[in-house]
Every structure is written in C-alpha cells, then in structure tokens.
Symmetry: C2
Subunit: 157 residues, 2 copies
Amino acid sequence: MEIIRRKTDYAFRLMLNLSINYGKGAVSARTLSNEEQVSYQLTCKLLQKLHDSGYIKSSMGPKGGYFLIKSPSQISLADIVRVIQSPISLSDCLLGINNCPKKSICSIHKELYKLGNYIDNFLSNLTLNQLINIRNNDSENNANFLINKEFSKNKLN
Amino acid sequence: MEIIRRKTDYAFRLMLNLSINYGKGAVSARTLSNEEQVSYQLTCKLLQKLHDSGYIKSSMGPKGGYFLIKSPSQISLADIVRVIQSPISLSDCLLGINNCPKKSICSIHKELYKLGNYIDNFLSNLTLNQLINIRNNDSENNANFLINKEFSKNKLN
DNA sequence: TTATATAGGACTATACTGGTCTTAATTAAT
DNA sequence: ATTAATTAAGACCAGTATAGTCCTATATAA
C-alpha cells in the first residue's frame, strides 16, 4: 500500500514542472501531460483540483494554460497531498479516544503518534523550491537512484 | 487513508496481549477477542495469519489457545505489519527507476526515500517489549489520551 | 470563425478492505 | 465414548477507494 498515491505523485510532477516555469507564463495541460508522462485526461483533472484549491491559476483559450499563484517556496508536498488524496493518517485510533478501547493499547498509539507527527512535519517542510534546489545541486548525471541505494544501507546509522 | 490499517491495529493489540502473557500459557481467541474488543471471527483470522508466519503457536482443544514463540523483545511492529497488511511503501516510484520517467522527479523521490526509510526504521525498532515497558512506566492512570491530546496541540512547536 | 484551451459532470473497471458464514478437525475433561 | 471447547481454513460479500476515461460545454487568441 502506497502512502503517496499515484495521483499524488503525478501532481508532484506537474507542480514541480510549474515551479520550474514560475514567472515564465502559462503551461498548457497538454504540455504538462507530455513532459511529465501523465495521461492527458488525468492531467486535466489533477490541474483542476489544484486550481480549485488555489495553488494555480488558469487562462483559457489558445496560449492558455496553468501557472503557480504562490511562490514554489510557499508550497509544500503536504499541501499537494492534501489536495489530491485523502489525508494521510497513521492509524484510525489516533483520531480519538473513542476508537481506543483499552489502556493497554495506548503505549502503541503513543509511539505511533510520534511517527505520524514526523511524517506530517517532513512533508510540510519540504517545499517545491527545495526540490528544485536539490535537483540543481545534484549534478547532471542520472545516478540519483544509486545514491538512494547507499542511503538505504546506512539507514539509522 | 490510514498507513496502519485497522486489521493491523487489531493485530498489534492481540500481540501485545500475548506479550503480556508471555510464558504464562495459552490464551484463547475468545479471550483475546473479548479483552481487545476485536470481533471473534476476525480475531481468529488474524491469529491464524500470525500463526502461519511463525510468531505464535497454537494448541487445539479445550484449554487451548495461542502463545508467543519468540520473546516480545524480538518482535517488532514492522514484523506484524508485514504479516497482516500489504507492505507499506511510500510511493510507487520508489520501487525502481522504471517508474520514474524524468530526472526532474528524482529530487522528489530522493527526499521521499529518506522518509520511507525513517518509517521503516521506526517500526522495525519498536518491539512489543518496549511497548510493555512504555505502558508500565506510564503510570496507572487512564489519562494517556489526554497526554496525547496535548501532544497534538503542541506539535511542531 | 476557428482552433486551442480549460471546466466539469458522469461513468467504469478493478482491487482492496473489513468482515461474516460455514464446515471441518483436534483434544481435555467427564 | 461423548461432549464441549477450541483451532483451521475456505468461501463469500458489501462497501469503498482508486485510477482512469468519455463527453459536452465554455472561453478566448488569432
């Protein structure tokens, strides 16, 4: 089960593309669809949602398209997640005392609560602007995934 | 969308109960169902899965039931998650370079990868034994959720 | 006027999730 | 031996989420 749903992932891409084009005019759904390899229909749907939520504006007609309203530094991945997919929660029971019938359970949820907070904060603090910077600093080679593999070996050390 | 599915949460409870009874003989599904407020049928199903995965043993007949094979210090929440629900992955694309058509995306996934690792490690390092200890240290009052509520108010401060 | 865009409702196939029902097989105690 | 308590396990189901398409309408630059 994916925490970040596929649609949300698509939206990340679309928004990152718009971030790179921030201040350079509108980008059409068709272009975004092609460049980010997301089906045209779905691209439209996702852009509409992002539009309705006030992150992007649209201009209709030829030469129309979408562009960011806010600066990429003011939009986090958590924002996008919130728009596209149902909210991420770590577990049902964290929502309230009602679902947690026994005290014995609370030690579980107390710990899970910390994890939930961490995830929240992580996504809230990761802005589109930061992602652009990471990409730029990251050299021109395509070896990011190799780097990621190293990350995984060293995890928690 | 919950990262820890409800069934997994149930399994956490059942396993914590068995942990508390570790070394004290078998506990029947009926008892576990009552004590942890999980439907009897579902309790049976979950216990069967945990049994098949080698975390608990069963004895049939009257006075039968289930008991842990391993020590609670050797079973993590990640273990239980793995048995009960489909594996947690942060996003489809993290699975491989194949799903990641554009380099521009990698800066997203590089960061998400870190988050995925954190979640993994968190759950892998949280053992049933630790949860018992947390519970015991946590005083005898029932106010854990009040504490949790405070947590939620103060988060990110 | 036309071609290029966005806007948005309706619909669908598939899969997952939580959960139940039913029928067996095992075994301690009487 | 019989009975009652218990695990074992397959089949089934309703509800919902997910990803995605289809179709029609509307706006607008050229």
